[in-house]
Amino acid sequence: MSTLLDVEDLRVTFPTRTGLVEAVRGVTFSLGRERLGIVGESGSGKSQTGRAIMGLTPPQARISASKLVFDGIDLLAASPRERRTLRGKRIAMILQDPKYSLDPVMSIGRQIVETLRTHEKVGKAEARDRALAMLEAVQIRDPARVFDLHPHEVSGGMGQRAMIAMMLIAGPEMMIADEPTSALDVTVQLDVLGILDRLVSERGMGLIFISHDLRLVSSFCDRVIVMYAGKVVEQLKASELGRAQHPYTRGLLNCMPKIGADRHPLPVLDRKPEWAA
């Protein structure tokens, strides 16, 4: 399997009034054309890992890594200009809530066309056609109508589909999805995941799926990385999640209520300081 992304000893540090805070502390992994899940609780550094790869870390933060290579390009040495051409074109990112991450004063169609025309030289008419085709590919029933709607006029599921369409239109090779379905209803969630799954496998993309939902990730991804306090505590195949070794992974799996399991009270996570060491 060809490696698309190579991350070695990634660190993201934020300066604060009380000193430096390391949000990501030495994360190492590689990604091929597969679905990789990154799971952890809030504050585990999973989103900052994704943002560092995308190049969206706030300017005051410091990033260091012994290796951060995307398809032979050293991302840390790349100029802002090079990063810009990568972003959106070859690496795309889906954010959590379409309500906040789409431009509220621009129609959905125009936003998709804008993405396309930033990265490719295409005429207006062709851009519109491709945007409509893309909207259809994410299973929006009436693409011509949705094209002219503004984000506040569509439901969460529809907004998230539009966002996926926008991210895929430039044909990226790698996609980072940061909690793409957490703001959606369970049934809509599965529709959106289904679309994402189909497009990723059809186009042979690499996908990094960031989520707090261990069970969802294990049913969707090929491989799962579990993060705690900025570190990777466990890496395993999604199918082998039941055989997780680390007490944190097991605790996380255990503490969720399950239909049919009569456990009162629920087991709670007993955090050990050595996990963060």
């Binding site: 049913s219 605790g251 399950k258 239909i259």
Partner: protein, 248 residues
């Protein structure tokens, strides 16, 4: 035995939008009853209508045998308290925990505030160290504990819970659910709980109602769900969705 909460053909209309279209339910004293459905199904609206926070257009609500009018009196809020979904939005940002907990006591004219605040904080596992903090100094789980303490401080008999854990991490969710079960057992409370997560509802509630676009789809026991004895497609879809993603 009179029902703790009896809702009869309740209708709620926002402008021209019918959010609830004649929904009925009965919750017995000491029971824990769940409402499940997707966003827009009207489950939260039902809860808010009982609390007096939604415009009731038709039907009636009876709490502990007393029929509710258009306005809720103080005695109602002594009996019924609510815990909201978002622990970040439901606590006053410029009041300390102590001040937050004093508010309901002052409204209802309790004299032994000091003792009650201490007891409420102990009960939710926060202790005195948190008493003079602001909500921004607390984590999401701690804030939700404060919200629960605020609801319990008047010693109500009924708690309305609107997605109390959906903004929390899984491990913190387990802690808050355990806390809710514990206070319910200790105080023999009646719960009416809203969630989009079937697993949480089957864990917390004995009976539940599935809702869709302002109407009741079906009434079930928690055991029915466990054994998958459901009759409606909509419920079956929800059940399937809660199993996670299945590759086509």
């Amino acid at each position: 035995m009179t029902a703790a909460i009896a809702v009869d053909r309740l209708g709620v209309i926002f402008d021209r939008f019918h959010a609830l279209k004649g929904v009925s339910l009965d919750v017995q004293p000491g029971e824990s009853f769940g409402l499940v459905g997707e966003s827009g199904s009207g489950k939260s609206t039902l809860l808010r209508a009982i609390a007096g926070l939604a415009p009731v257009a038709s039907g009636s609500i009876t709490v502990n045998g007393k029929k509710l009018g258009a306005r809720r009196d103080k005695a109602f809020y002594r009996e019924v308290q609510m815990v909201f979904q978002d622990p970040y939005g439901s606590l006053h940002p410029r009041q300390t925990v102590d001040r937050l907990l004093q508010e309901p006591l002052a409204i209802h004219g309790f004299a032994d505030g000091e003792k009650r605040i201490q007891r409420a904080l102990d009960e939710v596992g926060l202790g005195n160290g948190f008493r003079f903090r602001y909500s921004h100094q607390l984590s999401g789980g701690q804030r939700q504990r404060v919200a629960i303490a605020r609801a319990l401080i008047l010693e109500p008999s009924i708690l309305l819970l609107d997605e109390p854990t959906s903004a929390l991490d899984a491990s913190v969710q387990a802690e808050v659910l355990n806390l809710l079960e514990e206070v319910r057992r200790r105080r023999k409370l009646t719960f009416l709980m809203v969630s989009h997560d079937l697993a949480i509802i089957t864990h917390m509630c004995e009976r539940l109602m599935v809702m869709q676009s302002g109407e009741a789809v079906e009434n079930l026991n928690a055991d029915d769900l466990v054994e998958r004895r459901v009759t409606k497609d909509y419920t079956r879809n929800l059940l399937r969705a809660s199993d996670g993603f299945v590759r086509a």
